[in-house]
Symmetry: C2
Subunit: 563 residues, 2 copies
Amino acid sequence: MAPTSASPAPPPLQEGALRIVALGGIGEVGRNMTVFEYNGRLLLVDCGVLFPEDDAPGVDLILPDFGPIENRLDEIDAVVLTHGHEDHIGALPFLLRLRSDIPVVGSKFTLALLSAKCQEHRLSPQLVEVAEGQRSEHGAFDLEFFAVNHSIPDALAVAIRTPAGTVLHTGDIKLDQLPLDGRLTDLAGFARMGAEGVDLFLADSTNAEVPGYVTPEREIGPVLDSVIGRATQRVIVACFASHVHRVQQVLDVAEAYGRKVCLVGRSMVRNMGIAAEQGILRVPEGLLVNLEEALGMPAESVVFVSTGSQGEPLSALSRMARGEHKQIKIQQGDTVILASSMIPGNETAVFGVVNGLVRLGAEVVHQGSAKVHVSGHASAGELLYLYNAVRPSNVMPLHGEWRHLKANADLATLTGVPSDRVVIAEDGVVVDLIDGIASIAGRVEVGHVYVDGLSVGDVGESTLSDRLVLGEGGFISITVAVDATTGRAVSPPTVSGRGFSDDPKALDEVSPLVEMELSRTESEGITDTHRIAQAVRRTVGKWVADTYRRKPMIVPNVLPVDS
Amino acid sequence: MAPTSASPAPPPLQEGALRIVALGGIGEVGRNMTVFEYNGRLLLVDCGVLFPEDDAPGVDLILPDFGPIENRLDEIDAVVLTHGHEDHIGALPFLLRLRSDIPVVGSKFTLALLSAKCQEHRLSPQLVEVAEGQRSEHGAFDLEFFAVNHSIPDALAVAIRTPAGTVLHTGDIKLDQLPLDGRLTDLAGFARMGAEGVDLFLADSTNAEVPGYVTPEREIGPVLDSVIGRATQRVIVACFASHVHRVQQVLDVAEAYGRKVCLVGRSMVRNMGIAAEQGILRVPEGLLVNLEEALGMPAESVVFVSTGSQGEPLSALSRMARGEHKQIKIQQGDTVILASSMIPGNETAVFGVVNGLVRLGAEVVHQGSAKVHVSGHASAGELLYLYNAVRPSNVMPLHGEWRHLKANADLATLTGVPSDRVVIAEDGVVVDLIDGIASIAGRVEVGHVYVDGLSVGDVGESTLSDRLVLGEGGFISITVAVDATTGRAVSPPTVSGRGFSDDPKALDEVSPLVEMELSRTESEGITDTHRIAQAVRRTVGKWVADTYRRKPMIVPNVLPVDS
């Protein structure tokens, strides 16, 4: 069932077969991107970013590895975007830089978010707008779209019909049976596809470990109502900038209590503007006020809706929690609602914000203390509905770490999919669908592509491993000038440490040690600066390990000077 | 209710009054230590460590700040240890290094764990063993001890009677009404103290935000029974090395299924040895086997009990998850149970271990998927029992971040404690109990004392802030030798980056830039190496910000050479 890391390079794709490779999103949560290949042509589904964790310090974004397709860009018939979240569209501008005229297929709201993003990158993509119920042909790939309920409006699942068989790809999905916008996940459509025959089903694994069913989004409304209803001072609601239905519920409650609403944060203002324009967000006349107006109003008359629910240090909410926000100062009695999940890894940052707000006198309501968030991803119970509707011949779990993929695989087999037809394929694992049977054909190399500041790809594993060492122990640099001919030190060594110690005398013993070592190298006739540097590194490294039991980076600079 | 950071230094302690200052443990979870002062004498309760998070990279431990008492060591009458967890005893060896003959008061099991720790530090503390129901006088402090239920055996609460009033300190506490060892938290004793009059009640805040009651520990037994009962291969249970009752339940279930048990990890073996010796852990004859014996047995005949439940990278469990453990190789069908909480901040590491284990074919059972852990700290419902039993005049929430302290304070006021008698005092905030009223008298400075390798205190905020910069962006060093008299560069600059880029050409533009800048400084007659270094730093910093939009540390080394 599981690929081994020793899987070989895949054979050439057999004629009449379909090949599937994820360049991101399997074995991790984020940078979703799946490549389908038939008869020498490629179809991409999603092209998202991953937000880095502790193991990639200083990195802004992680992209899927385009390596396996970068020499085949002209063979791409289209890229389909299932919805507008960053982990599904965020990397597309980087792909469009390589070939700008790839047709981009998606729903109206998804494409509007993508366009806004592309404008920042000065790109004008070729957009193909589709909607649920529609079909769209791109080369060998005959696509059909299905409405899907998720934590962003206008999400789609996509069926991909090819001569090699039919694939159904859920994108991110849940099955809220009372969605706020009435737009249900099209289970009937999935069943129809099932009746037609789905050879391979790719399904969202994010919540496969969670038993039962996701609470309907609309149950958050009464909780917001009760919290905002009893608030006597300002209310600040933090949530994701793309969660239109969550914001809708806040607007509705604010209106009911005669409060105005002020949207805070560039992405929040932009996305809600798009949603309002498309009629997805209903904004009552005169409800919205700008920040200046809001600050001039009595505390009990306004609700701020802000980003920053993940504790991002530069966000408006984090600055409020530190008392550093220029305009919005938290007062005793203010209410702050974190109407969002806590993405694993962000707990410390989020609770840091909560502590700061509580310390300043705010009452903070969060997922742990009230039902102010529900997930956007199907729990195990909902996934069973999907498997039973689709009755797929083969299954490939998508979107998730290993524990999620395995849990999803187990659900598939529970509904009757033979376990040898459930393929857990990490990023880069090549799955071929041949004669109705999906199996692992090999593996292509996919790495992590890091975006750090303006450049893509120049920060790699070696740089990150240096950052980890430096971040843990700092460095000690030793600079010496030596006579290029004799190798004799021409000045005493300069020793300095950064990130090593606050004690100015901590490194006092290093200089004499290095001088001794330099006498030794000189006496042995060593003039090669690399060898001298190596000797210095060894001497200082041993000293610091013995003296401090620490491992700073040792950085010798040996400068040859002409005598 | 809350102290401001502008609180002034406290006035001298009024005669007949009691002063309370936490040197750690309030406003954070860990390094618990509270100082009581009466008539020039001091009593300490607990002396624990805090395990560092992302904001203290490379640090091994964080100690309470002994600063406010380090000139008053001779005035300490005793240190009371409420129980044997690291966050209550871990810093004591560092205090005993300053004065080795401070009487250390605690229960039998607590003192045994402390002794083991002190042996590693080559210290022989003066131990005073006490038990619930006993009293013990230390100078002006008349102590009485109460049985307390927690996630480690033999925990105590302590009442401190002084002429200024009576304090009751819970330590870590919960109120399991069906404890495995039958040793209930002595609520009746607390009520008796309440009847006598408790002037100040210091209560554990850790779970004050959590509504309801902690599930009894014994409900984990049947879950372990069901998981281990259906396991057909090896079983590995990971839990804290001090959680004797959890291990007892594993031993019982293992015995029931005819499996032998192998304890893995130095602290696990040591602590369970102590517990068995003291009759706290019941080990059936012949149940335990050593690692070598365990490896020779059929997979279905053994349970491993291991540390590493927090994803510690060097732990046995982490090494198994990476396939790097020398002896224990995870096989398809093995079962791993994480019978512990996930300490906030450790989620990514723990799930990393889970993913690794699942990938190797193990079934992993954790807190998220089954009831294999219950907390050691009272939930809100239990805290209400405590407040109602004790009916304190004043309350000071202990052990927790701001959100926990505030939730605990709210519970106290709900039971009728006037809100102006509930004092939220962070570390360093000085609370005086005068004529039965507790209030904030000022603040003493307490910082974080970091242990990194062998030395204590030399790593401070400046070093940590350098580590954070280096960890995010690495550094660029520029080394030049200049003529000491003229300031002229005598060799081309040597430029190197670490943690900056994998691209060997990334810094090619720096050298010519620096040469230009050095010509400028030379032409302006600048010979001071600090000023030259500053000019180089400015030039390279601007270049890297413009070119890469990154902020590595810029490290110029300007070496004066005599011409």
